[in-house]
Subunit: 249 residues, 2 copies
Amino acid sequence: MIKAERQDLILEHLLKDKKVLLDQISKVLKVSEDTVRRDIKELSDKGLLKAVRGGAIQRSSIPVHFKDRQHIDVPYKKIIAEKVLEYIKPGMVLLVDSGTSALAVVSNLPKDIALTVVTNSFPVASILEDHEKIEVLFIGGMLNKVSFSTTGYETIQAIRNIRADLCLLGICSIDLNLGVTGAEYEDSLIKRVMVETSKCTIALSTSDKLGTSDSFYICAANSLNIIITEADPKSVNLSAYVDAGIEIR
Amino acid sequence: MIKAERQDLILEHLLKDKKVLLDQISKVLKVSEDTVRRDIKELSDKGLLKAVRGGAIQRSSIPVHFKDRQHIDVPYKKIIAEKVLEYIKPGMVLLVDSGTSALAVVSNLPKDIALTVVTNSFPVASILEDHEKIEVLFIGGMLNKVSFSTTGYETIQAIRNIRADLCLLGICSIDLNLGVTGAEYEDSLIKRVMVETSKCTIALSTSDKLGTSDSFYICAANSLNIIITEADPKSVNLSAYVDAGIEIR
DNA sequence: ATATTTGTTGCAAATAATTGCAAAATGAAA
DNA sequence: TTTCATTTTGCAATTATTTGCAACAAATAT
């Protein structure tokens, strides 16, 4: 039995019983409790269930739809998420966009950090349900029922009223000459305003997106303060970015 | 039995009976009274109930968690929901508040009706995921993690920019002289603005709430256009309301 | 005022989570 | 296939949480 299969069974069991007990399920799956515990931890990180002492229960809030979070845990996103954490200090106001990379960062936030998170993404907001010290300011607007985030005039106007300490910009293409670009028009508009109004912007990218471009302009490359990729900044040659005044991690 | 499960049961019991007694529930759950006491303390800290000597009672109106609301479909809500449908015509702009009654109405909407729904409630928005012809305008603001709805300055300002055809006002107390009142301050503020800016307001109430009052003023009784209750309008004497120009259903 | 019930606090036993580690399994490259 | 590196898994020691109990305090009832 492989790990993914086991985790599917845990979720299945959860659907039926509304709860999973470590000792029971470990016997069913014929693995140690430690292993199940680790599985539950992983699933919990993805937001697919809620780990509690002795097992797991269903996540309360928002419907199944968001379970596209499957993709969150792609290893490189975890790496990126951890690098970002160094920049997040208690008391900050974070502006978080609606991509899965930003979601990965948010789901890796420590449980007890005090922050204000501003976002237009239902998944981001709902994952913060149990972070008691995080205040969530949700940005309204027209609801996109696929990404479960808001867009449009209202959203942009609302963001203009925010001056965040840190903006987490989900993956987009970055080119020194062509600037930061995105594949979706509405989303790019919003990202643009987010960058404009934030004191500091961290782009969450992958190294293969560097030097590429997409259809919709977001901002100049040097509007970014920091670019975080999954790669070791020493191993790839990114000196051109550093020369442009962008910190690379 | 897991702690989380136990606490869920306490809340469930509370929903049915309006109260929980330490000695009773501790026998049902097969734990000591001390443990239940501690559970109630925790739930009380989260604002999910009110601890009293000997047990716990429901916290005035609000926050029943989304999770719990979904499963408990009190029949009268269904009756009310169906009565409301007669007033909802294609093309309308609906302003929907964050109460459970309004949620019940929304979940009874036909799949293919074309509407614009404006709401500050996550559950309302997410229930409309599959209604392809319903546009959802979500009202931003500070997120209340218990009711999963937004409140505060931003929310109120955003509502001021809407002029809905129909406002669905969740259950609150209604008295001809004292007006419409609510038990939660923030929630009442929002309801007030909703009524002010809408062309027509339907109050979703239960007959026992008529003639009662709560702490926070929302609007004058005759600001309501229609009151819908679970009861047959002929069976109860509501002529005073009709005389005041309010339609009763 | 006294008796009875309920709450509080501190404590110890039981239970669960975390961490570090080594063995086993898996996968990729030679 | 074999080898090497990585991941996964189980185990043990440590740490943390939960729970029931008992002694005492506070509130309520008689």
